[in-house]
Symmetry: C2
């Protein structure tokens, strides 16, 4: 492929035509490797290189989670007979340690791209003006860009709800989303968290572990309400023992007070906090793209519609990641990016995405990990289910962890018709790692029968909780 | 099967004949389930029910490891910006917490067996007097026992070397093995650990984490010298930063001093300690059984020789676990016990043990886990190897764990001829759990190609270190 770059200037600013134009530098940025060296490539990024995951999502938040784990673990020492203590956190030191690692990565990503002869980077927000034609608003003015192939990978952003008093509170600098909460200057004394999903729950844990008084609010009666009900129920109980939960409650009004905020929560009363974190969901950035008239369809939730090859409804336009997926998770976006990459390079041999067994985790205390169907979903589908729940307390490593009353569990579901796992739901330490053999079994169509006994599980490693779950499930299948 | 019990008294004490006689109540005790309800069963145990693992091995030691982890983690907090501290341990509280859980399990195991109508328990040491005939020395005198089927599952014990001054030191109560060290009355100020294998290394970590000054001695130049050399090397370096290592050294003499011991270590000088832990290896208890003339062969290392069905060289006599295995590990003993159990119940359909992919772990800081061949073993076998090493530092969760200089790694080996994993060697946090997908792949003959990409790995879970190891290995296979 030859470069079709030109640089004629028009009234609307300079124009560029590329073989490939990538909008967004999260997973989209992984597409352009050395196999694209003879493609002319334009990249548009409106903020930092690296996308949500690197700059405002998974990676920095897990750095805070692990930090908070140290506080949480130290507070647990006396239960084990060990004189450990947690005496507070040097928040600015933690924040700077995290972002002194993150920010250079983002800068390095940009510099690397800018150094490639076949790549042009446009810092700005792109919107469509026609078929594979866009304008990028940069700080130096507008740039017209067009391309033979366009990849939309501009991700999503936190939803900011329309609530009375919120704008005033935000103007006072007291309202955050996951985009900004990790960069604040001091640990708040009291934090309101609006939202009981994974983002709200992870941050509630981080701040509670570090000593903040947390009030978490959600309209549902359970936190993590899309998880299997057994997991959501126990997770909610544990969280409720650790901080102030206001469930079945709406944030009706935010009131500025002397040095803080009063949250009006209807029947759940009021709560006084110093800062507010909004974690009520995320939405795709499709509304920033001016997609009307481009032939690129968007669904009711604002997701760009793609087929199994990640093609949008417009010729030569692809999409991946949070802008289009039903699984807004980094490991899914990376997979989709590899599919798009392959399909760009091999238009005669298109690959299809695999969204069959997408796992996800919540990095709180305890961790949650899941793959496949919840019990409720499986029953709705009318599957003839075998179900088994293994508690951490009943394996040797669970004894070591003093798990007696934890309620931590591995719940596994199999379809009696096929003898295969259809879901796995873990709540407890190391859940995000323990789940992997179950993902592997599902992905490679391994039968439940023989799965536990056909391999060794190190005694007394925590993995025995998964082994015993599978043994119990096999017995349930045979019952 | 009918009971052939009788109770005629002879000069040599009462005599009993059983359908099945089980010697030892570690994994051996798992054989007798309700499928044996119409068998008359004798069980002989010379100490507590539950064997080494429950009473003196894996389980209590891991309870101490997890306890020590709290101390170790709290000491690391400041590196993360968290003000955590470790100010000592209430050793008697820890010890009593551990054994107040362990000891009732052992007692409960005995009481359960003693309550079964078809089972007789003999508390004492058994030795053979003929073909499937033994005498048990109990505190009430000798009991003659015989059986149609005999299962030898009497395990092993720590080796106590013959060293000048050791007996005197032992008489002063200053010498321990893994059998006794966990039940001492106070945390020693200074501990000498003789042995650089997994037992010595786990206890060195426990005591060092809790604040004891540890001196660890081994004749080899590396700790864990049977592990893959890359793992052993890095493990040795890390241990050497945490306590006093004297490698390439023999304990030549032990000298009682005022209130302690002086260890004479040849070229490695001397060391002053308060207590000494001997961890120089374990030996099978076959020497206690008077096997001469029974037709039950024993190898040079004292292991009872068994075939792939766990049959000894004598008709009707089986063996399992540490008395016979080349893999003295609880998960192997349990597997062998299931094979013996099946083969006792189904003599017409004997099953074979599977010792192909036996994993093992060392629960120190860091953890070590391994399965399959070391690189050295694979090269000795002449395999055409692909090798890849992934460092924890280079995955997102490794950033969160501040792994930069840890040297923690996942090393994977594949045979180019088959495209299959032949070994995996992990050093770092959660290694004993992270290794499981690799065990699974090896056990179920899953090819390396496609293994990483054919399943999702949660981002940013620590399991990505295994994913990336497999991606690197696949590239190495294709290189």
């Amino acid at each position: 492929m030859t470069s079709q770059q030109d640089s004629d200037r028009t009234d609307a600013g300079p124009a560029r035509h590329y073989d490939l134009l990538v909008l967004g530098t999260g997973s989209g940025n992984t597409i352009v490797d050395d196999r694209f060296d003879d493609w002319s490539v334009g990249i548009v990024e409106r903020t930092e290189f690296g996308g949500t995951c690197l700059n405002r999502g998974c990676i920095p938040s897990k750095m805070f989670v692990v930090t908070a784990d140290h506080a949480c673990d130290a507070a647990q020492g006396p239960r084990f007979g060990v004189h450990t203590r947690y005496d507070g956190v040097d928040w600015p030191a933690v924040r700077d340690r995290v972002f002194d690692r993150i920010d250079p990565q983002a800068r390095g990503g940009r510099e690397y791209r800018e150094g490639l002869v076949n790549v042009e980077v446009h810092a700005g927000t792109a919107r469509f003006t026609g078929e594979r034609r866009l304008v990028v608003e940069t700080e130096h003015g507008e740039v017209q860009v067009s391309a033979d192939q366009v990849v939309i990978a501009v991700g999503g952003r936190p939803v900011v709800p329309d609530i009375e008093g919120l704008e005033e509170a935000a103007a006072a600098g007291l309202v955050h989303t996951s985009d900004t909460i990790m960069r604040i200057d001091a640990l708040p004394h009291r934090l309101g968290v609006i939202g009981g999903g994974y983002v709200g729950s992870e941050f509630a844990n981080i701040f509670a572990s570090l000593g903040t008084e947390v009030v978490q609010v959600d309209g549902q009666d359970l936190l993590l309400s899309t998880q299997d009900a057994d997991v959501a129920r126990r997770f909610t109980e544990i969280s409720g023992e650790r901080w102030d939960l206001r469930l079945g409650a709406e944030l009706e009004r935010v009131e500025l007070t002397d040095g803080g905020l009063r949250l009006h929560l209807g029947e759940q009363g009021t709560a006084e906090v110093d800062l507010l974190l909004l974690a009520v969901g995320r939405r795709p950035n499709s509304d920033l793209l001016d997609l009307e008239g481009t032939g690129i369809e968007v669904d009711d939730a604002g997701r760009v519609v793609v087929d199994e090859q990640q093609r949008t409804t417009a010729e030569g336009v692809w999409a991946l990641g949070d802008i289009s997926t039903h699984h807004p998770l980094k490991h899914v976006a990376n997979h989709e990016a590899r599919i798009v990459q392959h399909n760009l390079l091999h238009p005669e041999d298109l690959q299809t995405v695999d969204h069959r067994f997408v796992p996800q985790a919540v990095f709180s205390v305890p961790q949650v990990a899941a793959v496949g169907l919840t019990e409720e979903q499986a029953r709705e589908q009318g599957l003839d289910l075998a179900v088994f729940t293994q508690h951490y307390a009943d394996v040797a490593h669970g004894w070591a962890l003093e798990e007696d009353d934890s309620g931590h569990l591995v719940k596994v579901l199999a379809d009696r018709a096929t003898g295969r796992l259809v879901g796995a739901h873990l709540l407890g330490p190391q859940a995000s790692v323990l789940v992997q053999p179950l993902i592997q079994a599902m992905s490679f169509d391994q039968p439940v029968r023989g799965l536990a006994r056909g391999q060794y599980w190190i005694h007394p490693a925590l993995s025995e909780v998964v082994e015993n779950a599978l043994i119990g499930l096999e017995a349930a299948l045979d019952a």
